[in-house]
């Protein structure tokens, strides 16, 4: 599948890497569009200011605060690595890492599998498939807090779901009073909310596969499974990679579902890292410690993302 092609300025591109330019040309001082240099900066500056104010400065401030003891209304006292050492011995934090890891391990594969299955289903010639796409996307467009509040009512001891299950002899289930069931509810609601977005992205990837390729594989005698694994999956792999990276990042940052449906309980069975961070900062008023948690979460997400970027070379095909 690997091939050489030329990018827009004529560099040879191989397997996602850019071949170095001819060194003899030296540093490129020409500006292809002409005009003074400040014009370019003027175009870039609004974006740079936004990046600095909303991304870089808060990130740096959070990193610095992580090395301090500070409250929302009080001063800042730098305490070195004390917060990070404390994190390693904090059973509540370690539990939140475990809960979030379980969430990621269950939610991400389930989300990708459901999204892919739905995208493939909607590729078939079923009536009203465009309407179905819109319907499945609606949960992703509606606010998570509102959705979660409705689901909390549905999953109560005497809520509609238990009434239904009791009616067919399968209930009641302790959805919100047992830790394992509560985590299952949080994962289930998250799946319901977000699979529509991935379904659309993967669907677009599937739609872009040339019908000729599929027809050729049919002529060659490939069955449905063979076609999926040998044709569809490799050709949709860039979209699959994109959705997986974003879904993993979102999963590590899960907050609203647990905050609204369970408040982290029963006990700390649904206490995600983000919810613990929020409680530490705004309920316990320990801004420095919360910033240390944010830094660790950032590192965890960065490691997972870099691992995925490194791994994509082995399974993502861009042609």
């Amino acid at each position: 599948m690997m091939s050489l092609r030329r990018d827009l300025v004529g560099n040879e591109v191989a397997g996602g890497s850019v071949a170095p330019q001819n060194r003899s040309r030296g540093r490129l001082h020409r500006r292809p569009l002409g005009g003074p240099r400040w014009v370019g900066w003027a175009f870039v500056l609004p974006g740079l200011i936004g990046l600095a104010v909303f991304i870089v400065i808060p990130q740096v401030a959070s990193l610095v605060l992580g090395f301090s003891e500070s409250t929302l209304l009080g001063g800042i006292e730098f305490t070195g690595t004390q917060n990070f050492v404390r994190l390693l011995r904090d059973p509540q934090f370690l539990n939140s890492v475990l809960v979030t890891a379980i969430f990621v391990l269950v939610y991400v594969p389930a989300n990708i599998a459901i999204s892919m299955a739905m995208a493939l289903w909607l590729k078939t010639r079923i009536a009203g498939r465009n309407w179905l796409r819109v319907i499945f996307l609606i949960p992703a467009l509606s606010p998570m807090v509102a959705n979660a509040a409705v689901f909390r009512l549905l999953f109560q001891k005497d809520g509609a779901i238990n009434q239904l299950l009791t009616g067919i002899g399968l209930g009641p289930v302790p959805w919100l009073s047992d830790g394992n069931w509560a985590l299952a509810v949080v994962i289930g609601v998250s799946l319901w909310q977000s699979f529509g977005y991935n379904m659309i992205v993967l669907g677009a990837g599937i739609d872009s596969i040339s019908p000729d390729v599929i027809a050729a594989s049919r002529i060659d005698g490939a069955g449905r499974l063979r076609r999926f694994f040998a044709i569809t999956l490799p050709l949709v792999s860039p979209a699959l990679f994109f959705t997986t990276v974003l879904t993993v990042i979102g999963a590590w940052q899960t907050f609203a579902q647990a905050y609204v449906i369970t408040g982290g309980g029963p006990g700390n069975s649904t206490m995600t890292i983000m919810l613990y961070l929020y409680q530490t900062a705004f309920t316990n008023d320990q801004l420095g410690y919360a910033s240390a948690i944010a830094t660790v979460l950032f590192v965890i997400i960065a490691i997972f993302t870099l691992f995925q970027l490194w791994g994509q070379r082995k399974w993502v095909h861009y042609d």
């Binding site: 200011i49 104010v53 001891k157 408040g263 029963p266 309920t283 008023d285």
Partner: protein, 421 residues
Amino acid sequence: MKSLTKVGRKRRVSAAVAVAGVLALGLAACSGGGSSSGLDGKTLKMYTWIGGKADRQQWSDYIAGGKHADPKMAVSFSGPPINDYYTKLPTVMKSSSAPCLVTFQNGRVGQYVQGLEPLDELAKKNKVDLKAYSSAMLEQLSVKGKLYSIPFNAGPTVVLYNKKLFAAAGIADPKNDWTVDDFIAAAKATTKDGVYGFAIPQGSNPISTIMAADGHPYADSKGPKLDDPNFKDALQLLVDLSNKYKVAKPLEAAAGGSFPDIDAFSTGQAAMEMQGLWDLQHEQQALGKDNVGIAVIPSKTGTSKGFIGGSGFGITKTCGDKQKAFKAIEAMTSKSGLEYVTKAQASVPARLDALDAWSTNVGSPAFASVIKQMTGDATPSPVPSNQAQLDTLLTQYEVNAFSGKSTVSEVLAQVKAGLAQ
């Protein structure tokens, strides 16, 4: 070449300085604290909890009461619902749009004193007689001997009951000397046809109220008394109401700051609830004015004491005109101001000299006798600075006692461990 590089470097440095200056100016604008800080022209800005129409009406009534006492007073208000209020408050107090006035409920000033102006000097300067206010409330709203909030509402926690459901079960209205056994008997009698006798509230408030009824404060200067056997007994009673007596729905995992007990009572799914008197008007609107009764908190002996959890106004440290802000508080909590409020609001005024007007305008003689007992003989208790954390942890862990996964002692040990983090 060398000079050109120098010029380029100088330009880059100048550009960097200019960008840094712009950013610094922007950030400086966030710190607030000028002479107009917290005011919108001549109008004082107040940040408070607004959960809906009822809250909006309440604050409009207090402002109208203040205007009645001092026509020059001008206060505007804004804010989020109560479950978001305390988490947003410190951020708002730190922002460039920090208000002059803030409000506190259940004496929860401890966590915010770093951003609040002590009011003792202002009270002295303006010759305000603090003895006119409920002393239990003044104590709750003080930290280390300094007063940070003037109370406007001394709403004690009471039992609210559905009169129709009591009558249908053949139960007489509770008397002021009813005991825990009487309470359980009433809850048993009213539990039928899908209706529970009692709706259990989340968090520490029901525990502190049950403890106070028998004269035991739930906290002291060191914090919540989780090792006190009375604390354990109070939580055990709540668990027993669900698991042993089957007169209440067990608590389930829920977001902190939500009120499933109020929802159950106001929709007729529970015959009794234990809430602050601030909820009375809402329940009267939901169930009918003559259908809601109030009773003292049941005690073991029958001589119940009250748990005061009222509200007060405070002034932010960044307020540009603290004298004006204090005058507004003085007006809104004056005798005539609070008497005016009782014409529209059911909440009990924090001034003892406005209680008669409350009895006349809002309550019945039966209501007045309950309030007098709950406010006149209250169990004084400090509100710990980690109150929000206590409520969050209790809400999370007590569910395990209701589901039978943990004992009450284990729950309290888990809460204690969480508070120690």
